[in-house]
């Protein structure tokens, strides 16, 4: 098994131009797609998206939402009435308006359905996809905390109907103090570390990550990897065409040993290609690959195993290398298109998203 894998790897490196191209092509595509989706470099900031804001609630909470969103790096907020906002959007001058209806704060605190709505220009779905990423994490960050506080108050009231008004107010004040304290006290970092750290860290990462760049690198890397491994999987068919496969079958090695040997070499090439692509993305495109290195290594290994299996599967079901080339191109393009490797999922119509 290892002998076959080593032989295949040796053959792979014999053609230096092919090795170079197999690494260069994905790098070139990653660079192009990174430019398209997210810009390049750690320091380069993407152009903020203009978001209109209609505050019909005029409460402290609605103001907090405004200031929080306005502070977001990827957003630029403008306060308008709904009519003004609708006109601007219909004229194509702005992308979307976030409307906080009257009763926003009360609903949040009572843990009820929040009366808010996002209106957007139908023709700017792609921009909306990017806007949503920045919008949702911030909105939910604010409303969730208030919502929990409201739900707790309602629960106390329901469970303890005999409480006097003063006792109830006292408890509510203490609960509110706990939630406010959670935001402001000096013990916040300690509490986060002990109980809320994973969630806090996740939000922090998302804020710093250029999702367009991640999309371009991860998506294209997997797509190109599928192309590479289907080609190396086809080496099994080349062996059949050249007659060496018959010789291998005559040798004292089991057919499964031959297959595992082929898979091992394909796996090695897949890991190499992914590693080179991510290192390039780190060095040249500014992608922070060290946020969770063990997870990245695990992802590389899993992706390489899955893609190698795909390559061997293609070699098993096809009768010739021509068949592998045609069928794998079709399958890769289809699964990349519908799976989000080729383009972000928010590009797709609702029917496609739901079908997935």
């Amino acid at each position: 098994m290892f002998t076959i894998a080593i032989k295949d790897i040796k053959q792979y490196f014999k053609d230096k131009t092919a090795v170079f191209l197999s690494l260069l092509l994905p790098i070139a595509l990653i660079t192009i797609f990174a430019l398209m989706y997210g810009g390049i470099g750690k320091s380069e900031k993407s152009r903020p998206v203009n978001l209109l804001f209609t505050d019909q609630d005029k409460t402290d909470l609605s103001q907090e939402v405004f200031s929080t969103l306005d502070a977001e790096e990827g957003l630029k907020l403008e306060s308008k009435t709904y009519q003004e906002a609708e006109t601007l959007i219909k004229k194509g001058k702005r992308t979307a308006v976030l409307v906080l209806y009257k009763g926003f704060q009360d609903s949040v605190e009572a843990g009820k359905k929040i009366p808010m709505e996002l209106f957007y220009d139908e023709a700017k779905e792609i921009e909306m996809g990017l806007l949503q990423q920045a919008l949702w994490s911030n909105l939910f960050g604010i409303t969730m905390k208030k919502g929990i506080k409201g739900k707790v108050n309602t629960w106390i009231k329901d469970k303890n109907p005999d409480l006097s008004d003063s006792e109830l107010e006292d408890i509510q004040a203490q609960v509110a103090e706990q939630f406010d304290g959670f935001n402001n006290s000096e013990e916040q970092s300690e509490i986060e570390e002990n109980s809320e750290l994973p969630m806090t860290a996740l939000v922090g990462e998302k804020k710093n990550r250029n999702l367009g760049l991640v999309q371009a690198i991860a998506g294209i890397a997997i797509m190109m990897l599928l192309f590479s491994v289907s080609a190396s999987g086809a080496s099994l068919l080349k062996e059949k065409e050249d007659g060496t496969f018959r010789r291998l079958l005559i040798a004292p090695i089991s057919p499964s040993g031959i297959l595992y040997g082929k898979m091992l070499s394909t796996l090695f090439m897949a890991v190499l290609q992914l590693t080179v692509m991510f290192l390039y993305s780190w060095l040249a495109l500014g992608l922070d690959i060290f946020i969770n290195l063990p997870a990245l290594i695990l992802m590389i290994l899993c992706a390489a195993i899955a893609c190698s299996s795909f390559g061997i599967f293609m070699a098993s079901v096809c009768k010739s290398r021509k068949q592998v080339e045609s069928l794998s191109t079709l399958i890769i393009l289809v699964i990349s298109a519908i799976g989000g490797s080729m383009m972000p999922l928010f590009f797709m119509p609702a029917i496609m998203k739901n079908w997935r």
Partner: protein, 308 residues
């Protein structure tokens, strides 16, 4: 060394082999002679464990092939018809790979590779990629790859296909040397002269059956044909040749510039043949009576030329 009993194999409706029985003695060079599609490669594939027969049994040194597969595989070496080598690797790398596949490692493998490269006259080119080799050199490396693990029996499936006469001679010398060292070999070919030159015993195979078997002398003795009349002509008259073919159906071999008539009494048949040639307006340059060849025996047994 090898006993095969009642081997039969079909591919869907096509009967590839029917009741093949073989007994190969140790040190014997057995030639399997037959036209393309006769079943030679299928027989080799079954004997070398690549294919399973529909029926029949195979024994190597009295051990059943299918009950002792791993052990028997080590006794077998196969020189396939095609160049089964990795063309982008060097000869040395190819031999190292195939040796490792048979469990030979380290110094032992290195020595074996060097020995074989020397034996086949390829030492000076061992570090060149196989794709840079001539057809004959590739054929020699193809043979070397089958000999690395010191097999007890080697199957050679038309090892001289597509090479020049000089390279063919070199391969003959290699085979003769291996034979003299006591290696058991089964050699398939559709070239009569190869079988005549190399083989101790010859099995004539046609349409999946062995139709005759024995040494060349035995085959000649058992044949009803005793001589061949060779006629060389200078004008290839198609109508004239067709008349001769009709008259001597199953006895006449027609080549580019000569015809061969298999005959049990050449002297008696010669006047009529010359008369027919004259009638057919074939201008004869040379008339020759020779002793019986394998080609005529094959024609007699199968009713067709080996190169049909």
């Amino acid at each position: 060394m090898l006993v095969a009993k009642n081997l039969s194999k079909s591919y869907k409706e096509i009967k590839a082999l029917t009741n093949i029985n073989l007994t190969i003695q140790k040190g014997e060079l057995y030639g399997m002679l037959g036209p393309n599609g006769a079943g030679k490669t299928t027989t080799i594939s079954i004997l070398s464990s690549l294919l399973k027969p529909d029926e029949g049994e195979i024994f190597y040194e009295e051990k059943s092939l299918y009950q002792n597969l791993a052990e028997c595989k080590k006794l077998i070496g196969v020189v396939p018809q095609e160049i089964a080598l990795y063309e982008d690797l060097t000869a040395s790398e190819n031999l190292n790979f195939w040796g490792t596949m048979y469990g030979i490692k380290g110094k032992q493998l290195q020595n074996k590779c060097d020995e074989l490269l020397e034996f086949l006259g390829l030492s000076d080119r061992k570090n060149h990629k196989v794709k840079t080799y001539s057809g004959g050199m590739k054929r020699r490396i193809n043979i070397a790859a089958a000999l690395l693990h010191d097999p007890k029996i080697v199957f050679m499936d038309e090892p001289t296909v597509g090479i020049d006469p000089q390279s063919r001679n070199l391969i003959f010398e290699v085979i003769e040397e291996l034979h003299s060292r006591g290696l058991t070999m089964i050699y398939t070919t559709h070239y009569m002269e190869e079988a005549e030159r190399l083989c101790d015993r010859i099995g004539i195979i046609d349409e999946g059956r062995i139709i005759a078997e024995g040494s060349l002398d035995e085959l000649k003795t058992n044949s009803s044909i005793k001589e061949e009349i060779h006629l060389k002509y200078s004008n290839p008259n198609k109508n004239g040749l067709n008349q001769l073919i009709d008259r001597y159906k199953g006895q006449l071999l027609v080549n580019k510039d000569h015809i061969i008539l298999s005959s049990s009494q050449a002297n008696a048949e010669l006047p009529e043949l010359i008369h027919l040639c004259s009638q057919s307006e074939l201008l004869l340059d040379k008339i020759d009576i020779r002793s019986l060849s394998l080609e005529s025996i094959f024609l007699e047994l199968t009713g067709k030329s080996l190169r049909d």
